[in-house]
């Protein structure tokens, strides 16, 4: 399991205030949370938000960061498959939220909103 060393690495993932607010709401409903970044079709490229431990990460995944959210006791880990990270590693990710229907099993979809990744080049 690869964990980028945060002392040596730049920050890789952050959240917007709107996404942080949604994470507070979801935590109050579902308890501790996690993200796994999806790939592929339909709702691929969207970050999937689950109850912590609902999605089993393993040796093929990379932990990009632990999101500290005001008012949420435990940080929210953000995971991605290592193969996908190889193509994303030059970009910094910000978890945002937009109106939408969503799909997959992500917890926020019933709220009428969807987490969305906004990206910028690392150091850019």
């Amino acid at each position: 399991m690869g964990t980028p060393d945060e002392r040596a690495e730049p920050e890789r993932v952050a959240v917007t205030p709107a996404a942080a607010e949604l994470l507070r709401t979801l935590t109050s409903k579902h308890g501790p949370l996690m993200f796994h970044q999806s790939g592929g079709c339909c709702d691929g490229s969207s970050p999937m938000c689950y109850g912590r431990g609902e999605f089993r990460t393993g040796g093929s995944d990379v932990l990009l960061g632990e999101l500290e959210i005001d008012g949420v006791a435990e940080p929210v880990p953000f995971w991605m498959s290592a193969a996908q990270f190889a193509h994303w590693s030059h970009t910094h990710l910000t978890v945002d939220v937009v109106e939408g229907r969503g799909s997959g099993f992500s917890l926020e979809a019933p709220e009428g909103v969807r987490f969305l990744i906004r990206s910028r080049l690392v150091g850019g």
Binding site: C41, D43, M48, A83, H87, V98, F105, L107, R114
Partner: protein, 507 residues
């Protein structure tokens, strides 16, 4: 040009109900917890019906109904089931236009496409599996003179199917037809973005199916999808979507030791060798159409040819012609028969595409045409429209590595055959690919060298039944659209029979 009236208006061919509950055991059942959610049309962004918000209780009830129906349905003869599938096809054919309008209104895709492709393909798909189950045979193996192994196909029982939103009726058909042909009963969850059109389909064919053979539970993945996919009382889960949910479904299935079939998308290369430009003939014209196919269904296709690889020796001229072809695409109201590019299926889909156009620009991709939201004005102002976009860059950019699922193609050049194959295979996925050349030998070698389940050769985006469709690498497990899908919905029963009256002599 003519325009179909919007569903529910005075001259409309069809109308949706104002509300859809769950279809369980042959009738509509209200959600146990009483919740509903609005279903907007991407054409204008306005809601047109509301949908039951399913939960675990509703899923259990649907699985009960499916189990109740399973023994009788599994005992029907292949001829009886084939007859039902053929009757469904016939009913759909009699209502082709209504189904096409329903699908267009819910998904945002042009009616030109649903009339010519989605619905005719779905009709043919039911007929294909009617034929496939009629003609399927078991096998026998002669072990020795007096011992025979018989192999029978048996249905799995109750199966779960989770349907995507990009082709709501056709993708439901791809899953339903083989499952029903094989003698299974089904609990189907449509996508929460496009839950209504499969209910309209059911309103046309409900009388042809015994109660409980097909059950539809609406709702969100977290609330209805999970209790279905993780349920120990379903014998198999079929899913089309993306990789994280695909993995999650496999994890749930592993808890119950259940098989899954998954179709998880791709980043399909479309390769144009230099000899395509040897002549400005029909074939050249066809290849340019093949280039522009990235905009089919607004790019919301798992096999969208979203990476165009053009040999450098004809790169600039071919790309210029491709951009010109892209600019000629007609974007507009999805119910206009001349419209070629309609609306994205949802607001979050629109936002995601725009976020990719942003990172593409930051990475240095050049926008050759399009590049933003299409503001079409009038009643379409609230809809979700993106201009068909051609980006030029290199294969290490994220816009070359991720399925944007929008009308966006990323173009790069290649030097020779080996370079083309190297770039084509430099992806996590392997669902579709296109190869364009006048040289049959080169076409064959390229097709075999590309790591993808479907290589369109001098064509693209054709989906006839009887041609296997499925992924290599991270694109999934299983092959749909072909009789081999029957076996993904069947058990093999082996009877090992001795006709010898004498004992073995061991005991």
């Amino acid at each position: 040009m003519s325009r179909y009236a919007a569903p529910g208006t005075d001259d409309a061919l069809m109308s949706y109900q104002s509300r859809y509950d769950h279809w369980i055991g042959g009738s509509y059942v209200a959600p146990k917890q009483g919740g509903y959610f609005e279903n907007p049309t991407p054409v204008t962004g306005a809601p047109f019906t509301e949908i039951a918000r399913g939960t675990a209780e509703d899923v259990e009830r649907a699985i009960d109904a499916a189990h109740e129906a399973a023994p009788a349905w599994s005992r029907t003869s292949p001829a009886e089931r084939a007859q039902v599938l053929n009757q469904i096809a016939q009913r759909m054919e009699a209502h082709l236009e209504e189904l096409a309008v329903a699908e267009s209104w819910e998904n945002g895709k042009p009616v030109r496409e649903t009339l010519a492709a989605d619905i005719p393909l779905a009709i043919d798909h039911f007929r294909y599996f009617a034929a496939a189950i009629r003609s399927q045979e078991g096998s026998l193996s002669q072990i020795d003179e007096d011992t025979v192994a018989y192999h029978f196909h048996e249905p799995l029982g109750v199966v779960a199917q989770i349907i995507p939103w990009n082709f709501p009726i056709l993708m439901a058909t791809w899953k339903l037809a083989p499952a029903l042909a094989a003698g299974n009963t089904v609990v189907l969850k449509p996508a929460e973005q496009t839950p209504a059109s499969v209910h309209y389909w059911m309103s046309l064919v409900a009388d042809l199916l015994p109660p409980g053979v097909v059950n539809i539970v609406n709702g969100f993945g977290a609330e209805a999808g999970k209790p279905l996919a993780s349920n120990a009382r379903v014998a198999k889960v079929a899913f089309t979507g993306e990789t994280t949910t695909g993995r999650l479904i496999m994890q749930y299935a592993s808890e119950n030791l259940r098989p899954v079939t998954l179709e998880l998308g791709g980043k399909s290369p479309n390769i144009f060798f230099e000899d395509v430009s040897d002549d400005g003939d029909d074939f050249y014209d066809k290849a340019l159409e093949g280039f522009a196919m990235f905009a089919l269904n607004q790019g919301e296709v798992c096999t969208c040819p979203s990476r165009a690889l053009i040999q450098r020796s004809h790169y600039r001229a071919f790309l210029d012609a491709g951009v010109q072809r892209t600019q000629a695409l007609v974007q507009g109201h999805p119910l206009d028969t001349e419209t070629m590019v309609g609306a994205q299926a949802s607001n979050d889909q629109l936002e995601k595409i725009l976020s990719y156009l942003d990172i593409g620009r930051q990475e240095g991709a050049r926008v050759l045409t399009g590049g933003g939201r299409a503001e079409l004005g009038g009643e379409l102002e609230g809809g979700y429209y993106v201009r068909p976009t051609v980006l030029e860059g290199s294969n290490d950019m994220r816009v070359f590595q991720e399925e944007i699922f929008g009308p966006v193609v990323s173009v790069t050049g290649f030097d020779d055959f080996d370079d083309a194959i190297r770039i084509a295979n430099d992806t996590l996925y392997g669902l579709g690919a296109g190869v364009w050349t006048r040289d049959g030998s080169r076409a064959y070698r390229a097709g075999r060298a590309i790591q993808a389940g479907r290589v369109w050769t001098n064509c693209y985006h054709q989906y006839p039944a009887h041609a296997a469709f499925g992924g290599y690498k991270q694109s999934g497990i299983g092959r749909e659209n072909h009789k081999m899908m029957l076996e993904h919905y069947q058990q093999t029963k082996n009877l090992l029979v001795s006709y010898d009256a004498k004992k073995l002599g061991m005991f």
